[in-house]
Symmetry: C2
Subunit: 293 residues, 2 copies
DNA sequence: CATTATCATGATTAATACTCATGAAGTGAG
DNA sequence: CTCACTTCATGAGTATTAATCATGATAATG
């Protein structure tokens, strides 16, 4: 009995559009044309017989239903790939290293550098999965991952890569009052302590006039801020371009170093394997280079 | 970053061939030609760069690696369908009933009868998942399932459908000694108490000369018996055709009713929903008809 | 305002899925 | 043993889906 399923090409395009926030970026990532990706998104909407995106200002904003669907489907695709590569690696000499990455960190920091690793390790095939949390990576049985946290990952060895600085940003069109508490405070679900940490560092003890909605996706949050929904405390790394271009302002005070940071993690029983050690050694050197920048 | 994945059509053909044990049967089930299914199996072997089947006597016997791969992949496909239909059902008036079935029971008993249900309930769309155990069905969040067991399924309402009778069978080409203990006793992982139950019912307390390998798949077990690997205690329902055709013999004694049987199960919180009640009412009547046969 | 970026869509091309036909080998009955 | 039927693999061809190129409308930026 055949199942009722969209094609994998369709699902991967859908996923990439949500992850990148732009059809054009998604297409680059998948090595397809913008047209192909646009069609696949429309194909999926036709297949499920409902719109999955709100079209707004030449951008596609995913519906809640679309985000829920992606959250359940994306790990399935990751596991399917893992199992397929596992099957293949049982017949080849090459080693497969399953690497878990946070979407924005992965696309903005690591992917541009990853060619350096693959160039020097042709015997190690990378299988890259994306996840938002440590739990995601555990569930997917990754060999290594770049996770965000405080360094304590139960059952995993962790190696500090870099800190994260965070700062509140606002849209220039909506900036009127220098008092950060006068705005709605938008929340990042992956950064629950961002607001308290930043306010504490400024010695501000009062409460904001309003706590805003919670979102899990940086690109969407940046769009919400630019639309004037409120102020969000975001990692400096992710808003650097928008600040430089003047699309966002950071007028409320300096960026502060968060309690959490980025760590390379690996299950205890794998942390000393040759492939994990090779990747760790390479990545720690890259992170040192970034600190020297 | 695009994943390295075989197509869904490929995976479904691979799955169907293993489930049915014959390319031709798999093709019928999928409403494709034998040729298409044969090609897809070869496509997958080429994709993963290893044979997934041993070709023997016009049949395809899956390798261990193939079975492992299927066990991990099949539930992923089930869940992907469930989530897709869930997404679709949030926008339609139709109800989706997610039904879990045991592979052999499903294909041999229920599927031939299922048209009777869909004919009378056009408002209920069926989403059919296969699993081997109660745990499989729990994990997949089915609305209802036909499970094998003793009637105790924690957190689930159960309705008895039918008993199962089991009996030891052997290949006519290898039958020489009427003492069942003189043969290797092949084991079914889904029927761990089959041998003890049957022997106890015959008042046989001695042990067999050899305990044979354990398998989880009826079709493969039947093939192993026919090849002369030993004797297996199998459900009468599944060996009826082979016995009638003389491909198997049951010379050691009568079939006995197992302690376990087939039950329709549904999570407690769903058991009184309209869709589950509709399916339950229909299936209990079908099971009564079978008893009257 | 001019230039660039973005998405949707018509027309066309490329790739994959599938069918029909055929042949070789296996199975079972007489 | 012969014969009829079944089964799988494969060549050739057809059908369907995926993807590209080109274009236009709209949005964003300097």
């Amino acid at each position: 009995m055949k199942r009722k399923l969209p094609s994998l090409a369709t699902l991967e395009c859908f996923e990439a559009v949500i992850r990148h926030g732009l059809v054009t970026r998604a297409a680059e990532d998948l090595n397809l044309t913008q047209s192909a990706v646009s069609r696949q998104v429309s194909n999926l909407e036709a297949f499920v017989q409902q719109p999955l995106f709100v079209r707004r200002r030449k951008r596609l904003m995913p519906t809640d239903a679309a985000l829920r669907y992606l959250r359940s489907v994306s790990p399935l695709l990751d596991t399917l790939e893992t199992e397929t590569l596992r099957l293949m690696s049982s017949s080849t000499e090459n080693q497969v290293l399953t690497l878990g990455l946070l979407p924005t960190f992965g696309s903005r920091w690591l992917m541009p550098r990853l060619g350096g690793f693959t160039e020097h390790h042709h015997d190690i095939q990378l299988n890259i999965l994306t996840g938002l949390t440590f739990e995601d990576f555990k569930r997917a049985n990754v060999d290594v991952a770049v996770a965000y946290g405080n360094g304590n990952f139960a059952g995993y060895r962790s190696f500090h890569l870099m800190n994260e600085t965070i700062q509140p940003v606002i849209s220039p069109d909506h900036y009127a009052n220098p008092d950060v508490l006068s705005y709605e405070h938008l929340q990042m679900s992956t950064r629950p302590s961002a607001w308290p940490d930043w306010l504490a560092a400024q010695k501000i003890e009062a409460m904001p006039s309003k706590i805003g909605p919670t979102m899990g996706h940086f690109t969407m949050m940046i769009e919400a801020v630019r639309s004037g929904l409120g102020v969000a405390v975001l990692p400096s790394m992710y808003v650097r371009d928008d600040l430089k271009a003047g699309r966002l302002l950071a007028p409320f005070g300096p960026a502060v170093t968060s309690h959490n940071g980025y760590y390379l993690i690996s299950p205890d029983h794998l942390a000393n394997s040759k492939k994990v050690a090779a990747f760790k050694d390479w990545l720690l050197i890259e992170a040192q280079k970034k600190k020297a920048d």
